[in-house]
Symmetry: C2
Amino acid sequence: MTVAPATLHQGQAAVRPALQDAVARLDDSTRAVVSYHLGWCDVDGHPIESAGGKSLRPSLAILSAEAAGGTQEAGIPGAVAVELVHNFSLLHDDLMDRDVQRRHRATVWSVWGSSTAILAGDALLSLAHEVLLESNSPHAPQAGVMLASATRELIRGQVQDLAFESAALVSLTGCIDMAAGKTGALMSASAAIGAVLVGAGSQVVEALSTFGAQLGVAFQLVDDLLGIWGDPGTTGKPVFSDLASRKKTLPVTYAMEQRGAESAELRAWMSRTEPPSEAELPHVATLVDRAGGRQWAIEETARRTRLAEDAICSVHTVERARRELIELGRFLVSREA
Amino acid sequence: MTVAPATLHQGQAAVRPALQDAVARLDDSTRAVVSYHLGWCDVDGHPIESAGGKSLRPSLAILSAEAAGGTQEAGIPGAVAVELVHNFSLLHDDLMDRDVQRRHRATVWSVWGSSTAILAGDALLSLAHEVLLESNSPHAPQAGVMLASATRELIRGQVQDLAFESAALVSLTGCIDMAAGKTGALMSASAAIGAVLVGAGSQVVEALSTFGAQLGVAFQLVDDLLGIWGDPGTTGKPVFSDLASRKKTLPVTYAMEQRGAESAELRAWMSRTEPPSEAELPHVATLVDRAGGRQWAIEETARRTRLAEDAICSVHTVERARRELIELGRFLVSREA
């Protein structure tokens, strides 16, 4: 198993106090719900030891401040803001998808109901802007616009995703566009917001944005690969979970667009509406594989990772931070869970 | 019937192009849903002539810029932002309350489903910050913090409101605190955000905030009075609508806290859970009245309106704008729908 780079742990440790300060501003009920969601306490409010999320976005944010010649600390308001926006989207997505579990824990809506999940998400989205604008950076407004426009893209991606669920056919182009919105946009903002806060020039900001955007799509490709071929013992999800829900993921969408018998059989299977039996799923996974979906997704992940690295290597950034960004990116696309 | 002051029409006309520009940034699906919600088109997207909402908050925002010595135009980004936040909260509230109608039109969630209403609301909250931060005011970050903290208060109020639904007893203090959050906070920000954008001093900003906050609670008191004693022909709501849902509104909560037989009978009736018959409602309205709830709400509305006016008359503001703010406030508390 791939070991998470130290950057992620350091990122989490650096950002956590500021994240806690931000959450402490919320009203008592919302704060309790959010503290549970973030893995800081159990349903009854008792503190728990938990790894929490990956702290990926905050780590990108503080590294981006350093990459642009600032201190990691200067990136913290941006790191907190992107983590809050990420968690706003998880709270609302879990509700919309009616997912009852996230990271082996009951989701907020499944414990406290829909209204609480809606309000907790709303509170985090608003809090993200509050924290960012209270930073003493003269570039906070620019960072806020970046965050808001990433949120708009994220919502566009989620709207597309919902539309895809009921669409008969989804094009690969549409599916990539959706991933770029739903996953790429906030990752892009995360990888550049620290640089914006320390006043980086537009070339550096753009390069870091591209790094994050490409990495975001690569991240989604890996997610989709793991959703079909991941080891349930490692991912914590049932085997072939994305196939069981006939989800139009990137490898599946690619495979459906190809010529040949496997692709045709896959298209026919995907168009059915009854819940599939578990016994069919290994065969369907083989269809996606034989139609080239798996290989394409692996190669596309590598290609996007290269594009991400090329982007930050094309401008002048601080070497230590750049190396860590690259290491972080490589970890993300080689992860097994 | 009270005629709306010209200020409201002018406010709507001044803000509408900027509001349309903002909404035009949204993805196609969300834009269509939001345009419907704002009364610009029907469910199929055909443009319609409609008065839309009251444009109360945008009017306060542009008048606040003028009151602080700026142009009304300088307040427009703030006006658009508060109107977007207001509509974000309506979209989510209608869903949480399962209200199928607003202003005689089907609500967004009832037409397009819960997920669409959640995402459309999310999009407007984020867009509000984007618009505000893109204004060229050097004070935009301060305005953004004001907006975010008002949103936090608004959410706190909504969380309280939901808790009250299932609470056996709600104190008048708690009920006023809820109204101050749910209605007062955004009204307060609306009445000051334009002043912030034009760089007003803290005394003027505070006075305008107080004006809006007091007016917000007065506005809620009038809403609650109309929810019991309003003329259904004017309000568009069924007669005694708030009693039919055993809603713990301000006049009811006041009446429940008094001594005497009427108050005791009202408390007993409010504690029942079965849907009341229509025939009981006139008697319950009489109980609230006899226990003093109606008179108290009328006097409290007048008292809060006076406090609002005292606040803006205690600092130096531009006379024309101050007069219009006062006129607007008086209209709001004397309205019949």
